[in-house]
């Protein structure tokens, strides 16, 4: 027994080096966006400012629940997640405080991608992928998200499940623009056009087009670049080359955009440090690091996206008419519309 307690004592000492010790030069992040590269970025921040960054990463809603229950005693300063709708929902629960739009942040982040409570850190577009072997570019002329419901695509489209938050935000933006009734009809026709029951992640949709299971896929931009980079192996790299990106709605409001972003929590004990970190994430240095590791689009001007992302097309029209902060209000309707349409 003595031996065992000794071992435990040693283990506790060994591992306690990594805990927060409550010193003031620190900032605590709850993150549902888990990129390894983000950790490297935090290390850079610490080297620059001397502020230690502590992180807990996990599932979005479970982390939110923990923050809510910890209440005033929460040590969390900053909440970072992907999808504007999630940020909006957490804001609606009153969990953020103003501060995410400091002067420095306002100066660099376009107003569509921030509110007083949270700001985008990087952008992604949800676009259409097609097989150039089976679909010619002229077939896609003037193509919109709305056109995915056209009968000519029967049995040709793949898209992931309705429980996916990126789909919920996309459909929310359609409801915002076209109304719930029209979108309900659209969803029904889209489900009729699906090549298979929805399954798999975004990358699986792109691979389905490469493999010939479908002709069109809907997925976020960074997945194709990830495959093209060879990080997923030579097979997927070759497969990605069989698929081309298409940016829809170029003749009207533009392509659907989403963000990963963060906000300062209501009871943040280190608010000033949290603002500093957000501002740092929006500097040129940090943005270059982000776009080169995650293949997202930069949030600020003057930074080029990764070369592979740039090759997919840069001059496309982004939907700046539909504010990303509006997704949250329509996400519940979006889910309802999709489920009613039989979208798995």
């Amino acid at each position: 027994m003595k031996k065992i307690s000794l071992i435990i004592a040693v283990l506790i000492t060994l591992s306690s080096g990594s805990y927060t010790n409550g010193h003031s030069k620190e900032v605590n992040i709850f993150s549902a966006r888990h990129y390894d590269s983000d950790i490297q970025l935090y290390e850079k921040f610490t080297a620059k400012t001397g502020i230690k960054v502590n992180v807990i990463s996990g599932k979005d809603k479970a982390l939110q629940k923990r923050i809510i229950e910890e209440g005033k005693d929460s040590k969390a300063d900053l909440y970072i997640t992907a999808d504007a709708g999630r940020l909006g929902a957490f804001q609606a629960k009153g969990m953020f405080q103003k501060g995410a739009s400091s002067k420095a942040i306002k100066a660099v982040v376009p107003s569509n991608f921030r509110t007083a409570y949270w700001t985008g850190i990087a952008k992604r577009a949800r676009i259409i992928y097609y097989s150039p072997e089976r679909i010619s570019l002229s077939d896609l002329k003037g193509m919109t998200y709305e056109n995915l419901a056209d009968a000519k695509w029967k049995g040709k489209i793949v898209i992931r499940k309705s429980n996916n938050v990126y789909n919920q935000s996309l459909v929310a933006s359609l409801i915002k623009n076209n109304g719930k009734k029209a979108t309900a009809k659209w969803a029904k026709s889209l489900v009729a056009n699906m090549a298979r029951d929805s399954k798999g992640n975004d990358r699986a949709q792109i691979l389905a087009v490469a493999a010939g299971e479908a002709d069109l896929a809907v997925a976020n931009t960074y997945y194709l670049a990830l495959m093209l980079s060879g990080k997923k192996g030579p097979e997927q790299q070759a497969a990605a080359k069989k698929v081309k990106p298409f940016f829809p709605n170029q003749n009207d409001r533009g392509t659907h955009m989403n963000i990963s972003g963060g906000g300062i929590l209501k009871h943040a004990p280190n608010k000033a440090n949290a603002i500093k970190l957000l501002e740092f994430l929006l500097t040129k240095e940090a943005q270059v690091h982000i776009v080169n590791n995650t293949f997202e689009y930069p949030m600020i001007d003057g930074v080029e996206p990764h070369e592979l992302v740039a090759k997919m097309g840069l001059g496309f029209k982004q939907d700046l008419k539909t504010k990303v902060s509006s997704y949250e209000k329509k996400q519940a309707d979006a889910l309802e519309v999709m489920l009613a349409a039989g979208w798995k």
């Binding site: 283990l11 390894d36 992180v55 996990g58 798999g200």
Partner: protein, 545 residues
């Protein structure tokens, strides 16, 4: 009158009280889960709810039936072959088949997807053998419901295998000879004699499988399935829809209580069986030759390959072709963190399970027994729900009790600390520890306690000098079983852990959730490797007993 009072005092001694308190502590989060749903707040239309509800229930039923069928076939099949026959490699398979315990269902799911997806590992293999072609359409796809059934089955069939095997082990040759005398064919005596006599063990194994299946979150959410567990998570945590969460947990409860009744029932039968020890004749092992030996070998090898080698090889393959992820991994720190949790939790669990069992044994109180049984149900409640319930309870307690007393908040002590993490593990795995010690205790006759008291030993001394040495093997075995569970545990660790604290499981999950299964390979391998060592240490106990 005086005697009654004295008896009363005797009954409510320190053992009784501590046993009562332990069960109560374990029961609190469980009560929180169900009581918090009786508040009604709801913001969804009823049509939508019904769509959800049916989906959740039917998916859970499909999953359960599929997993039970597969684990039954594989588990009983393997147990039968290695118990009754001798063939090349049989001694190897006896313990090697248990290694499947080291692979959690979510890691199995990663491997399955990676191998069979479009342009996955299977595609690479075919391309390297037969040259460039589009093989994707001819490669079967194991995803969605089918993927979840396979992943969960291969990681859980070990329960059925181990329990059935030990039941076969003690089966008397007399029974088999009885069949022969009645002129039964081999097939008939298998279905009419061997299988029914092992039924209690099989049912006990299957009910463990069923509870783990119902509470699975990792594999099911990886495949995007909506089951009762993900449904409760979504309704409660995502939508704050307590009314729906309430209905869903009600259905989950029905499932669980059904299983409890089944399990208790089969346990009672098992005791009855073990009584008939008179005339035990160890059974004759049949030596297989030729193609029959080959068939037996092939079946066992296929199961060993699919349950253990396949996920390990897939992870190994990735680690080799993407060595960067392996090199970057801070594996020593992850190992220390994992072992810290494992040792801390198993000691705490065994210690308290012991006290509780001893208290039960001394008092023989029905109330205490019932409370203990109830507190054991923590095992069937999904870890993620349990963790959130724990946080909710601590927060409620802090706001309504601690704050009124005017003392400092207790939240940081319990939320986001190793202590809190270990406490939730405690609730989740208490049944494992408690039942394990209980079954050990059942083998110690009450007369031993009485003669110990007659010799002038105190209750404490009886406990330390008689019971603990007697139960040494059980303690060891349970300690290792708990350790394996904690090494694999994901959702509780994910939400309860302190800042900057990662284990093999959380690291693998984080990589997998950003679609970097290649990077998840190295921590997964370490996880499987660590758990395998624990399994190998105990394999001789598991195989023998």
């Amino acid at each position: 009158m005086e005697i009654i009072i004295k008896m009363g005092i005797k009954k409510f001694n320190i053992w009784y009280i501590s046993s009562f308190l332990i069960s109560l502590v374990v029961a609190i989060p469980i009560i929180t889960v169900f009581s918090s749903f009786f508040e009604t707040t709801s913001n969804y239309t009823s049509i939508l709810k019904d769509t959800f509800l049916y989906d959740y229930i039917f998916n859970s039923i499909y999953l359960l039936v599929g997993v039970l069928f597969l684990t039954f076939t594989i588990g009983v099949g393997c147990a039968y072959i290695v118990s009754f026959y001798s063939f090349t490699g049989v001694n190897f398979f006896k313990w090697a088949l248990i290694l499947s315990f080291a692979v959690p269902a979510y890691i199995y799911a990663y491997s399955l997807t990676a191998f069979f997806e479009n342009y996955g590992t299977a595609f690479s293999i075919l391309k390297n053998i037969f040259g460039q072609n589009n093989y994707n359409n001819s490669i079967p796809k194991f995803d969605g419901m089918l993927g979840a059934i396979i992943s969960i089955s291969f990681s859980l069939f070990g329960y059925v295998y181990v329990l059935t095997r030990s039941s076969f082990h003690y089966q008397s040759q007399n029974l088999i000879e009885l069949g022969k005398n009645l002129g039964f064919s081999k097939k008939k005596s298998f279905f009419k004699i061997i299988l029914p006599s092992a039924r209690p063990a099989i049912v006990a194994g299957l009910s463990l499988v069923a509870m783990e299946t119902l509470s699975d979150f990792g594999a099911v959410s990886f495949f995007g399935l909506s089951t009762l567990t993900t449904g409760i998570y979504n309704a409660w945590i995502s939508f704050d829809d307590l009314a729906l969460a309430n209905r869903l947990s009600f259905y989950l409860l029905i499932f669980i209580f059904g299983l409890f009744i089944l399990e208790n029932f089969s346990r009672k039968k098992a005791q009855y069986h073990s009584l008939s020890k008179g005339g035990f004749k160890s059974k004759k092992i049949i030596y297989l030759k030729g193609y029959k030996s080959f068939l037996a070998f092939s079946f066992c090898f296929a199961v060993f390959f699919l349950s253990f080698l396949f996920p390990v090889l897939q992870m190994l393959y990735w680690t080799i072709i993407f060595p960067k992820h392996f090199i970057d991994l801070n594996s020593l720190q992850l190992f220390i963190n994992t072992i810290l949790l494992v040792s801390f939790s198993s000691i705490v669990l065994i210690f308290f399970a012991f006290i509780s069992n001893y208290g039960n044994r001394l008092s023989r109180s029905k109330v205490l027994e019932a409370l203990t049984t109830f507190s054991i149900s923590g095992y069937a409640i999904p870890g993620i729900i349990l963790a959130v319930a724990f946080i909710t309870f601590i927060s409620w307690f802090d706001n309504n009790v601690i704050k009124l007393l005017g003392t400092e908040t207790i939240k940081p002590i319990f939320i986001g600390s190793i202590l809190g993490l270990v406490l939730v593990y405690f609730v989740r795995f208490y049944s494992l520890a408690c039942n394990g010690i209980k079954s050990g205790y059942l083998k110690i006759n009450y007369s031993i306690d009485e003669s110990s008291y007659l010799h002038g030993f105190s209750k404490f001394k009886t406990f330390t000098n008689i019971h603990i040495p007697y139960l040494k093997n059980s303690i060891f075995l349970i300690g290792v079983l708990i350790s394996i569970e904690i090494i694999k545990e994901l959702p509780i660790t994910l939400i309860m852990r302190p800042f900057n604290f990662e284990t093999f499981a959380t690291t693998a999950y984080i990589f997998a959730s950003q679609d970097l299964l290649e990077a998840a390979a190295a921590p997964s391998l370490f996880l499987i490797f660590t758990a395998s060592i624990f399994i190998l240490i105990t394999s001789r106990y598991i195989v023998r007993d």
